[in-house]
């Protein structure tokens, strides 16, 4: 019998090695897998490349991971926002590398990685600083930039409900990068609010099928345990 639910986050994250590339879901706080990030800090893998839309706010979550000195490089679209002081001080001190990626390229490069697309041409960014050094091509009268997929070793995402096969639903705008990061990753770990029996999820409502999901971790604060780990 296959049951992807892990006893706890540490069990799910135990395989993460130094130097890994890790995608972390979320747009601002929505969809941010806080408990998995806390567990990654505890797990202690270093020299990480982080792929995430933002670079943390305040002193918890992604900001705490950065503060712990575990991240060497970050790919994101919008690192500078209210409360991003941890990132800003690391960046100004030259202690973290930054690759700014237009948000649509971030999503599409992750999707491409998940779909076996080796590269794609897009008009986004043509003629800007972010296309410097990249291959360009005129297609149908429009100048385009070649963008390459972002493959990641692990995706840490926040979902709503899962069954033991790892089929996932999401909640409102917390869905954001979760599904594409799950596709792009060799190993996807989903933090879930609710664990249910096979068959309880209507197949019509499954957003991320279990083929993209390796491990499930039930959020500790959750009072919605429908079925315990087997």
């Amino acid at each position: 019998m296959i049951n992807k639910l892990c006893a706890d986050a540490q069990a799910a994250l135990s395989g993460i090695k130094d130097g890994a590339t890790i995608a972390v879901g979320g747009f601002g706080g929505a969809g941010m897998p806080d408990e998995l990030i806390d567990a990654l800090i505890e797990q202690g893998a270093r020299d990480l490349t982080l792929v995430s839309n933002n670079a943390g706010q305040g002193d918890s979550g992604l900001a705490a991971l950065l503060k712990a000195g575990q991240v060497r490089r970050i790919l994101c679209s919008y690192p500078r926002m209210t409360g991003s002081h941890v990132f800003e001080s690391l960046y100004r001190a030259g202690k973290i590398e930054l690759e700014i990626v237009p948000q649509g390229n971030l999503a599409e490069r992750l999707r491409a990685a998940g779909c076996g697309i080796a590269g794609f041409y897009t008009p986004t960014g043509f003629g800007t600083l972010l296309a410097e050094g990249k291959e360009t091509r005129l297609i149908d009268g429009r100048q385009c930039v070649l963008e390459l997929p972002i493959h990641v070793d692990y995706a840490l995402i926040k979902a709503q409900t899962a069954d033991r096969w790892g089929n996932l639903t999401f909640r409102k705008t917390a869905r954001n990068f979760g599904p594409v990061m799950a596709m792009a990753a060799t190993n996807t770990i989903a933090s879930i609010e609710q664990f249910c029996e096979l068959g309880e999820l209507d197949p019509e409502t499954v957003v991320t099928p279990g083929i993209y999901v390796k491990h499930l971790v039930l959020r500790k604060a959750s009072a919605n345990l429908l079925n315990q780990a087997g």
Partner: protein
């Protein structure tokens, strides 16, 4: 620009959005436009974090932090909304499915180049978000901005001096003084706001303006041309 001017500008943009349009309203000034789209008509708002429909700010005490807009503010949906993931959301944008996006800007060039993500200052931390995708993706790109920068110079220029967001992507610019269309023939003034005169607008604007759409004969503004040329040359330096 005071709050009443911001609201007046938002009302002008809202007035020009046809019912049934799929619209992305950028963060900041463009967000205000939503407040002035008539409630009795149907408009479809797109927020890049994965929601399409119509919404308003969540009531105090009713915030759901899984239900936010692109500005990361909690919202409350009206009936008819749809959720989708980020690649689908940017597919809507990049695939040309949005009719209009409304963005803020640091600078716009006479050719419709847009600069709105980075001042290029050596110590600035760049952050682009979805700006480059919006700039090239929507069928029409409306810009809302103050006519002049803090140093008093025109934000409408022969060429942008800040790093670009997109080339030739802006369709129309709304400022507190005028509404201007970017056309292959040049910058065409389609509306003068309040007491603004053609002469004054040309005097403070860094590019030659075409007033023919307002029935103002070119000679009316041409007396200012030499001064403007000089101003442009200054800006290009």
């Amino acid at each position: 620009m005071d709050n009443s001017m911001r609201i007046a500008m938002a009302k002008r943009v809202a007035r020009d959005i046809p019912e049934g349009s799929y619209v992305n309203l950028g963060i900041g000034l463009p967000t205000l436009v939503a407040n002035h789209l008539p409630a009795e008509k149907d408009y479809f708002l797109h927020s890049e974090n994965g929601v399409l429909g119509r919404w308003q700010a969540a009531a105090p005490g009713e915030e759901d932090w899984d239900m936010i807009n692109a500005g990361k503010e909690p919202i409350e949906l009206s009936p008819g909304a749809a959720f989708f993931h980020h690649a689908d959301s940017f597919g809507m944008m990049r695939g040309g499915h949005l009719d209009i996006c409304v963005l803020g800007a640091f600078q716009v060039s006479a050719q419709g180049d847009l600069a709105n993500w980075h001042t290029g200052a050596p110590d600035a931390i760049p952050a682009v978000g979805g700006a480059m995708d919006l700039a090239i993706g929507a069928k029409r790109v409306f810009v809302m901005m103050e006519h002049l920068a803090k140093d008093g110079r025109s934000k409408l220029l022969p060429e942008c001096t800040y790093p670009l967001t997109g080339l030739g992507c802006v369709s129309r610019v709304y400022t507190e003084l005028a509404t201007l269309d970017i056309t292959p023939e040049g910058v065409r003034v389609i509306e003068l706001v309040g007491d603004t005169t053609a002469e004054h607008l040309q005097e403070v604007t860094g590019v030659p303006l075409d007033f023919s759409a307002l029935g103002i004969i070119p000679s009316a503004a041409s007396t200012q041309r030499p001064a403007v040329t000089q101003h442009c040359a200054e800006l290009q330096r």
